[in-house]
Assembly symmetry: C2
Homo-oligomer: 458 residues x 2
């Protein structure tokens, strides 16, 4: 094992150089203008898999392509399915980046670029660790299957189709995903729970065109007023979501879980400094950590209507639009939440406004069994690379693929995050600490050794 | 008089050609990018005044220039102050114009361009009628002073400064403004009341940057949720403005006024077809005509926050903004309404959100004395040109200058509208009917004759 770790240390600069190539490709999946770059990025991943010693193939889908590679050693040994996504969030607002989103730049021990931590930088650690095993040992201690998709950031539906139609190809004992974070700086974590999500867009149309607000004001419903009325009613002054039945199915934290939360190091002052805000706010009766990870939410992600340029413009706008996501916790069902959201918004819509509700993706929350041998093995690998045992923690984000792996392939997922919550994922100046990239790669190398010792329950 | 009208008829094509030159200048006052075009437009107006036989001058201001011209005949005769504005609303949304906003085009007896009816096309009728008097009669039957400003559409403050510092220059017995509309197609109107207005912008800032809605959702206030909450509370389900005290000072319509409203021709079906909407909506207890013209309003003119591109983006936005205008009726005071609006919004602002409230312009409502000799004279002029007597009616829009003339110069304003509410003012495909432009010019020519017969009360 030491030989492999030494090999990785000697090749750190090469690995970084290759990661920068990966980050230079603007693989924005949500915007159809980037389709050629998505294909180029899939090709790049294919080559990186081949270089790592995997047999790799690109599978086209009706959306963005999936890249798959494998190296099978012995069917008696454990088989691990490694997942990542090569697509990234849109880079805007562009003017808030210190250096351009797709020109990777190193400053102060960090590598800045869209995708640096979510998820290119993290998934790449697994390809580099496999390559090290191959080059040093000439083989791997277990069977690996690597699946890298391109629709994670846009709620694409084609991965699930692929999983369903390739169950045999993807058969494995456990999945590994590095798309989460450490608990704190240098405090590694294994994420044993994730919130689910639903996403939707509401579009309103009032008069056929923008109207003079003096000549017509008072005579008919203004779609921006209507939109703010319906969206503004979503959260009460107590921070609770007002959709009827929203909390009915929520699995509340147990007393033990709340004790565990209370014992984690957390400074509200540091948190507020990190996000640049003056105060926390949210559902009454729950701590900030609990609200972030174990309570459901309803956030408006974007809103647009009418005149938004300089100065006043005295119009009644013709239309308005808002994008909304809800984070779900265990036992909540996406369909029911979307139905409740749509009914709630419709109920607040005045006469004369056309109401359109578009549903994007949705997935349930996920909780991992903390007694699993896979989890214990993974803890050892992380401890070796980070020098301390990982915290078991829930994350607030959603990784729909974890639920798909459970439902379609019947396997649990080890969520091993090398990055940090402060890495600006989904924001301007996204980055990864070079230290995290390198120790993540070492932890990944140790992981194959540790997981190889687990006896799969087949 | 007939000679003058014949002269105008013979020169219709020339007048239209000149108006098209005027409309080609993109004099958008709200956007500082158009400053050179504003200057060019002022120069054009100066030349048009000179061509009409006026002694004309450009007065620079700290904002956009004012153009002034006069022809003084005899101090014993009435002096009329004619007002117009050469600036126009921003042309966007550009993609909804059939032909470009600043390329005047005639289709189906209408001239399409931004400013065609508001206000270049209407103010130009007065310059052409003066020119006709000068060329046919070699002089005018009364003293005229013409004031054309460039900040009407952006709530500029410099006109009032100019009025205050040029009281002697502008001394007059009555003002004439053509910036309103006929009551209906071919039913001329003299507007004897206008609503006032206040305009403001609210800006909210939450976290220092956009945050991942999974990682941070639930922990702190989302500025778009906050903005929709505060703005959405402005109008109740009964259509009434919810700001405490908003209606306290409102001068309700009298029983006689309500009877007058009820007797005006008005088809709700035609109205809905005109605006392209499926239903009317507004303050309960008042008819649509009453709500449009004699009741106060609160409209959001524009809203923006977070991600507004294609597909979902799972963020908590960093900031959000909305533009709001309220229309005021007699006895409401702008300052009090703005104070109430600001307090109301602030009261709905959750912790951790920075609140900024920007105040734009404001003006009170206006009501004209229906027994005035000036009004009776103007009715005769309009009847001559349109073939039927004008309806006396209130308009829903605001013309701040009317109030300034009253307060600073001590004179009432005759609001003689040649255009139509259906002319798409402030919207794409703004236009003026050629017929309205020509009969407006004839009514203006008659007006000088009629007003000359009134004995001024000095």
């Amino acid at each position: 094992m030491q030989q492999i770790l030494d090999f990785l240390t000697a090749r750190q600069d090469t690995a970084l150089h290759e990661l920068c190539q990966f980050l230079r490709i603007p693989s924005v999946s949500a915007d159809s203008a980037y389709i050629p770059q998505m294909q180029a990025c899939a090709n790049w991943v294919l080559q990186a898999m081949t270089d790592a010693g995997l047999q790799a193939t690109i599978y086209p889908t009706a959306g963005h392509p999936i890249v798959y590679g494998e190296r099978l050693v012995d069917p008696a040994l454990p088989t691990v399915l490694i997942y990542g996504h090569y697509d990234v969030q849109p880079p805007d607002p562009l003017d808030l980046w210190t250096t351009p989103a797709f020109e990777p730049t190193i400053r102060d021990g960090r590598l800045y670029a869209r995708g640096a931590t979510d998820d290119k930088g993290q998934l790449f650690t697994h390809l580099k660790s496999i390559q090290a095993w191959m080059q040093v040992n000439g083989g791997l201690p277990l069977n690996v299957k690597v699946l890298i998709e391109g629709e994670e950031e846009c709620g694409g539906v084609h991965l699930d189709d692929f999983l369903k139609s390739h169950r045999e190809l993807l058969r494995a004992d456990v999945a590994v995903v590095s798309d989460t974070s450490q608990y704190g700086d240098g405090i590694p974590a294994i994420t044993c729970g994730l919130r689910g999500i639903v996403a939707a867009e509401v579009r309103l149309r009032g008069p056929a065109k923008d109207l003079h607000s003096g000549v017509y004001g008072g005579s008919l419903a203004n779609p921006v007023n209507a939109l703010t009325r319906m969206c503004g009613a979503l959260i009460g002054p107590d921070g609770r979501v007002q959709i009827p039945g929203f909390y009915d199915d929520v699995l509340d934290l147990t007393v033990e879980e709340r004790s565990g939360y209370a014992s984690l190091p957390f400074s509200e002052a540091d948190f507020l400094k990190e996000v640049g805000s003056g105060a926390v706010f949210g559902e009454q009766g729950w701590s900030t950590l609990e609200r972030r990870t174990a309570r459901p939410t309803c956030d408006i992600n974007g809103i647009l209507g009418g005149y938004t340029g300089e100065g006043p413009k005295t119009i009644i706008p013709s239309k308005a639009m808002a994008k909304i996501t809800c984070r779900l916790v265990p036992r909540m069902t996406p369909q029911k939440v979307l139905d409740g959201l749509e009914s709630f918004l419709r109920a607040h819509c005045p006469p004369g406004i056309e109401f359109e509700f578009r549903r994007f993706h949705g997935c349930e929350a996920f909780v991992f069994d903390p007694t699993s041998d896979w989890l214990v093995a993974a803890k050892r690998a992380v401890e070796t690379a980070f020098g301390q045992p990982p915290v078991l923690f829930r994350e607030g984000g959603s990784i729909p693929v974890v639920l798909s792996f459970k439902q379609i392939l019947g396997i649990d997922t080890l969520l091993l995050g090398w990055g940090r919550n402060s890495d600006n994922l989904h924001s301007p100046d996204e980055h990864i600490h070079l230290q995290d990239f390198h120790r993540g790669t070492r932890a990944s190398a140790c992981l194959w050794q540790e997981l190889a010792t687990v006896r799969p329950a087949r």
